[in-house]
């Protein structure tokens, strides 16, 4: 992976540096919306900060991390140099330029649109231009992931693509499909209005297009965690993957079922009929299949490992697992958070139950638990696993890494559990200040204060992460064993073509997308009058220009 090491390292550092910035903002936001006094007690700063936190965490950290991860995984799992490194650096530069543009627009107070791309809220063209470059630049990565896999297949006819390569290619294809929604929205609706070429803005079509991205992007973020579950965890545990086919099937199902389901984010939207909302909700429930399949295969793989390590009895294998390894510990903590967050998610996507928690803190708590918790903790573990391989220097140190993971786990639970409860009590999301003297709101105050404590723990954990990575980066060089991916219990000699490529699955996705989105998007072109004046937040007072 020689030629991809620097590439991966640069992507990772951009991701984690942005991550630290985002965490600082997040902790301040928790303080700001609590009854406790906060520095810079100002609502405009809060909304700017929410925009920056969301943009940084949801678009910048994830995209850079996953791109770096993809380059590293393809180079090591195919065991040959990455093709197209030059193009990869060009993509990196475009994404970085886009990030800088968007961040400058937000910090100068011209883009407090809460990171959602929901018109009629309208930000400065710099923000949308930056977001467009970031997302479009990552399409170079998508092309490289697909190209490297197909070239390997051509050079190795008849051989199964390694599972890790197959999975990262699935991630790339998923991202290409998912990003199409927001890219079309940016290019067709937001940027033209931001440049002032039109007066009105098609808010409903914009929301619908964004919903194409909105759910699948979550699975794009989730994929590295699942790739680690299947290909790294059994190896670290000292065992083998229970089933290679199940792994392939899982990634295929994520690709197919995470895309035609985004309208469950629009359950309260008046522009769409209940039939399509129901159809997409029903398809959403199928996303539970790959997750359940994964929980089963990972537990089975870990049991294989535990028994190889001498674990006996019904549950004795659990204790025999190498819990001192950061990756192992992270999986355990991640699955706990995935379980809790998953049950919350079933409520969000249920047509009727959703109306109870729509637009409340419940939603924010849910995605922090499942993404910030279950997924991001795996990002940490992946970084700890890959850092020695990329830098050639050992991790300093594993105990420190373990305490970072524990701190993150408890911090996330302490933050999000009371946050869920406050949401059930009716606390709206995206609100800067609450009047805690109001008898309706007063009971939420203790919960919010507990969340603040959790938020500060998360901040401490993030700082610890940077300390560990930094210390390792500047440590002494030592020989590192190369990256190894888990073998299956029965390694496949040949696999059906359907499980070795994506032609069939792309065709199925296309059909499902046309069924699920054809009419809901098409109706705007012939049925409804839906354009409204934009609400510009491009001229608000700057965050910087404060005395």
């Amino acid at each position: 992976m020689q030629n991809s090491k620097r590439l991966a390292l640069f992507h990772y550092w951009v991701a984690f540096a942005t991550f630290l910035l985002g965490i600082v903002l997040g902790a301040w936001q928790m303080l700001m919306r609590s009854p406790l006094p906060a520095p810079l007690d100002d609502s405009a700063a809060y909304y700017g900060s929410v925009t920056l936190h969301g943009t940084a965490m949801a678009y910048v950290v994830t995209t850079f991390f996953i791109m770096g991860f993809g380059y590293a995984v393809q180079a090591t799992s195919l065991n040959r140099p990455l093709r197209g490194v030059g193009a990869a650096w060009v993509g990196f530069a475009i994404c970085l330029a886009g990030t800088v543009m968007a961040v400058v627009a937000i910090v100068s107070g011209r883009a407090s649109v809460l990171y959602t791309f929901y018109p009629p809220l309208l930000a400065s063209a710099w923000y949308y231009g930056g977001a467009f470059l970031l997302i479009a630049g990552s399409m170079i990565w998508v092309a490289l992931m697909i190209m490297n896999m197909t070239q390997w297949k051509r050079d190795n006819p008849g051989r199964p693509v390694p599972l890790a390569t197959f999975a990262i290619a699935a991630t790339a294809i998923l991202w290409a499909w998912a990003a199409s929604g927001v890219l079309i929205e940016l290019a067709g609706i937001l940027l033209p209005r931001a440049f002032g070429w039109s007066d009105l803005i098609d808010a409903a079509l914009g929301r619908t297009l964004f919903s194409v991205t909105l759910h699948a992007i979550v699975y794009f973020w989730l994929m590295p965690a699942y790739i680690a579950f299947y290909t790294l965890v059994p190896q670290v545990a000292g065992g083998r993957l229970y089933s290679d086919t199940m792994g392939r099937l899982t990634f295929i199902m994520f690709l197919v079922f995470s895309l035609p389901v985004g309208m469950h984010h629009l359950l309260a939207d008046p522009e769409h009929g209940s039939g399509f909302k129901f159809l997409q909700s029903a398809l959403t429930f199928l996303v539970a299949l790959p997750t359940l399949l994964t929980v089963f295969s990972i537990c089975a793989s870990l049991e294989v490992a535990g028994r190889v390590r001498g674990g006996r009895g019904l549950l004795g294998w659990i204790g025999a697992l190498p819990w001192k390894e950061p990756m192992m510990l992270a999986v355990g903590l991640s699955l706990v958070m995935l379980g809790l967050g998953g049950f919350g998610g079933l409520i969000n996507m249920s047509f009727a139950m959703n109306s109870m928690i729509h637009n409340t803190s419940w939603v924010t708590a849910h995605f922090h638990l499942i993404f910030g918790g279950a997924v991001v903790i795996m990002y940490f573990a992946i970084a700890y696993e890959m850092w020695p391989r990329i830098t050639g220097k050992p991790l300093r140190s594993k105990p420190l890494a373990r305490s970072q993971l524990w701190l993150w786990f408890w911090g996330m639970l302490i933050t999000t559990v009371p946050w869920h409860v406050a949401g059930l009590m009716g606390q709206p999301r995206r609100v800067a200040t609450f009047d805690y003297s109001d008898p309706l709101i007063a009971p939420m105050a203790p919960l919010v204060i507990v969340s603040v404590v959790g938020g500060l723990m998360l901040l401490a954990s993030a700082i610890l992460l940077i300390v560990v990575l930094f210390r390792s980066h500047f440590g002494e060089r030592a020989a590192q064993e190369p990256m190894q991916y888990a073998l299956a219990v029965n390694p496949p000699a040949r696999v059906p073509a359907s499980l070795n490529g994506f032609g069939l699955w792309n065709a199925i996705v296309l059909v499902l997308m046309v069924v699920a989105y054809g009419y809901p998007i098409g109706q705007f072109f012939f049925l409804k009058q839906h354009s409204v004046p934009a609400v510009e937040v491009t001229t608000q007072t700057s965050l910087e220009g404060r005395p």
Binding site: D42, G273, S274, G275, F278, D438, L504, L512, P520, Q540
Partner: protein, 297 residues
């Protein structure tokens, strides 16, 4: 396994099973979503099959009361902030406006309103002046004197006088360089004016005044209030509350003003009128005084 090397061939088990599975899932969900749900869960038992499908698709069918009498449409203003309106305002000629403005000074003064009931216009945002003149002209805002004057002005005259007034640097303080007060910007403030101006009252659905009128924020069409006459502000808030003034585009000022108590209206008016350093408000309340301290002090 050998025969399964073609992913596009429906005789192979993987493609065949996958397509059947997808078709089955879509058909079952569609029947449930478009027929069963549309027919039985929409509180409309008299819908036939076709009507319920239309309804589930999102096409309003004949169930809409088409012949029912509609209340007469009443628009609060003729102005919409479209690009053409903004261009018209931006084309205003301040020199020509100075001539038109000779009509204004008798009441609105050179630098500030000659009576506390006449608003100061020098330094007022051009968009605001243009919109109010148009509202007076179209009768959307009622005033005997202003309606009579506004009807003699063309839209271009309005743009000219708006440009002239906006360019007067000696009146209301400019909104752009407006400093933030050093403290007092949250719900925890006890002073009602500071609380309402900077934090609003979420419990009553009142947004902060400052979010649109400054300090701290500015929305298109909302006048800057800093330095305006207190008596004028009070009279306009009262007019909105009583519904005698109705030219706020989204009815926002009527909704807000209706909920303010007389004391709050008074406090807000005093707060804005006394904010500029040349006319500090005489009050013993320390929080208010603190908020008036120039930024950076």
């Amino acid at each position: 396994m050998e025969r399964d090397q073609e992913a596009g061939d429906l005789h192979n088990p993987w493609p065949r099973f996958s397509w059947w599975f997808i078709v089955a899932v879509v058909v079952v969900s569609a029947v449930l979503g478009f027929v069963v749900l549309g027919r039985y869960q929409q509180n409309a038992p008299d819908l036939d099959l076709w009507a319920s499908i239309c309804r589930a698709v999102g096409i309003p069918s004949e169930s809409r009361a088409a012949g029912a009498p509609q209340p007469p449409l009443r628009t609060p203003t003729r102005i919409a902030w479209t690009a053409s309106t903004l261009e018209q305002i931006a084309s205003g000629n301040a020199k020509k406006g100075a001539v038109v403005a000779l009509n204004c000074v008798a009441c609105h003064g050179e630098r500030e309103g000659t009576s506390p009931l006449f608003p100061t216009l020098a330094g007022m945002d051009a968009n605001v002046v243009y919109k109010q003149l148009d509202d007076f002209r179209s009768g959307k805002r009622q005033s005997g004197v202003m309606s009579a004057i506004a009807t003699t002005l063309s839209p271009q005259d309005s743009a000219d006088v708006a440009a002239y007034l906006a360019g007067r640097g000696d009146g209301l303080p400019s909104i752009a360089g407006e400093p933030f007060p050093a403290a007092g910007r949250s719900l925890r403030q006890t002073d009602p004016a500071i609380r309402l101006v900077f934090a609003g009252d979420p419990g009553r659905g009142i947004p902060p005044c400052g979010a649109c009128h400054g300090p701290g924020g500015h929305k298109l069409g909302a006048p800057t209030l800093n330095g305006q006459h207190a008596a004028y502000l009070e009279s306009q808030l009262t007019a909105f509350a009583q519904g005698s003034r109705q030219n706020d585009i989204n009815e926002q000022m009527r909704v807000i003003a209706e909920q303010l108590t007389a004391d709050e209206v008074h406090a807000i008016a005093l707060f804005y009128s006394g904010r500029s350093a040349s006319r500090p408000v005489q009050t013993s309340d320390s929080a208010t005084t603190q908020a008036h301290r120039p930024a950076g002090s």
